[in-house]
């Protein structure tokens, strides 16, 4: 099926001049519905053409013609605040020395109609980031195999959200943050159950409007939105599996377009339906069975001890927490604090 492609300046120059790899560059763009680039791409291509003139590889007439050809390619130049925000995030996440490469990857992630492949002729870029980001393609290299995974389950707090938990964000909004932090330190099951019922009482006093604003404003982890969009585009189902309140899980699931989600329920009359860490694996197994998928087709992403049963059950597991627990060592890919596109690459791009 035709789709947009993001093309590196290195690929564009090969379209315009007879360089090694020109035929591969033509093959990449021939059926593309759109050619997407960050706004500065024309300057890089123009500089490469000027160098060819300077070095006597092409004459002024040929360079002018190549420049006119570039303008006639009808490229989609992207330049918007969201692209710049994501560019910086990617440079941070993938430890890139400058933002140029990151801007192309961000353009691929934010292509009209959803994330699309980013083709580059730069082998050093493909090597440095390619295996860690699912959109990067090396010119002349085979398309990566998506692998067997057809369902990916994500934990919420610490995985899809970083820093403040959903409960802390709500507590902050209703002036209960100090009490909530004390609750977050509880380890006894009975104490946690009692804390949940106290929180339910707070929420009843605060009203739905204040709670709704807090959950709608939860800060997502880097790459969360594009990771879900990319998985959806690849036909991979997504689920959010959390012990936190299901109304908060549902709000994030709606933002990300997750197919399924689960959490601790709170009825309109204040009754709490507890969902615990060990329920995660059972729930995920039942969900997978409903889709006709065995554990070998399911991946899970988590960050804490509470995720271990789910991570152990899934055929592929990524742990984004700081220290990998011994229980999953050897069974989980450890990507501490990873951008979620890196987590998706670890799930989908490795055999």
């Amino acid at each position: 099926m035709s789709e947009p492609v993001c093309v590196d300046s290195s690929v564009l120059v090969k379209l315009l001049t007879g360089e090694p790899g020109s035929e591969a560059a033509v093959a990449v763009v021939t059926d593309a519905t759109d050619l997407v680039v960050p706004a500065f791409a024309w300057a890089e291509v123009g500089s490469a053409l000027r160098k060819k003139v300077r070095m006597g590889e092409i004459d002024a007439r040929q360079a002018q013609r190549a420049w006119d050809d570039l303008l006639s390619l009808d490229l989609r130049y992207l330049q918007r605040p969201a692209l710049m925000t994501r560019t910086w995030q990617l440079a941070e996440s993938f430890a890139l020395p400058t933002v140029y490469d990151a801007a192309f990857v961000a353009a691929a992630e934010q292509a009209p109609g959803g994330p699309c492949p980013f083709w580059t002729a730069d082998a050093s870029l493909a090597r440095a980031v390619g295996g860690r980001h699912p959109l990067i393609r090396g010119l002349g290299q085979p398309e990566p195999d998506l692998g067997p995974t057809r369902l990916v389950a994500f934990d919420l707090d610490g995985t899809l959200l970083r820093g403040e938990t959903a409960c802390e964000a709500i507590a902050r909004a209703i002036g209960r943050l100090d009490e909530m932090r004390a609750f977050e330190a509880l380890t006894d099951r009975g104490d946690i159950a009692a804390a949940r019922r106290e929180m339910a009482r707070w929420y009843g006093e605060a009203g739905q409007a204040a709670i709704g604003v807090a959950v709608d404003g939860l800060a997502l982890a880097p790459g969360a939105e594009v990771a879900f969009a990319w998985l959806r585009r690849c036909g991979v189902r997504t689920a959010i599996v959390s012990i936190t309140w299901d109304f908060a899980v549902a709000a994030v699931a709606r933002r990300l377009g997750a197919d399924d989600w689960v959490g601790t329920t709170l009825s309109p009359t204040g009754e709490v339906g507890d969902f615990w860490a060990e329920d995660k694996a059972r729930w995920l197994a039942a969900l997978a069975e409903g889709y006709g998928l065995g554990p070998d087709r399911v991946a899970a992403v988590g960050d804490s001890a509470g995720d271990l049963p789910m991570l152990r059950w899934a055929g592929r597991a990524v742990f984004v927490g700081g220290r990998l627990p011994p229980e999953v060592q050897g069974g989980a890919i450890h990507l501490p604090g990873a951008d979620l596109m890196a987590a998706v690459a670890a799930i989908c791009l490795t055999a």
């Binding site: 007879g18 763009v29 160098k51």
Partner: protein, 86 residues
């Protein structure tokens, strides 16, 4: 801005196979704020751009042949990005 609210539009009647229409509905449903009309317009526009680009690519092929073999510019672009090009 939604494409079906602009003033200078040509109204047409389309007859789509049921399967294709179901795909259009699914795409529109999965992208809040994007209408069915938007989906169809975008698909047609993409096909028009693809055909226009095919003609441009034919012209580019002739221009590449005229230039003859060239040095690979990729190291130059890498050097630009890394701030190494004088």
């Amino acid at each position: 801005m939604p494409q079906n609210t602009a003033d200078d539009l040509q109204q047409v009647t389309l007859r789509l196979p049921a399967e294709l229409w179901a795909d259009v509905l699914a795409i529109a449903a999965s992208e809040p704020g994007r209408s069915r009309n938007d989906v169809i317009v975008d698909l047609i526009a993409a096909e028009v751009r693809r055909r226009r680009r095919a003609r441009v690519l034919e012209r580019l092929a002739a221009h590449r042949r005229d230039m003859g073999p060239q040095e690979d510019s990729t190291p130059f672009i890498r050097a630009l990005r890394d701030g190494r090009e004088a």
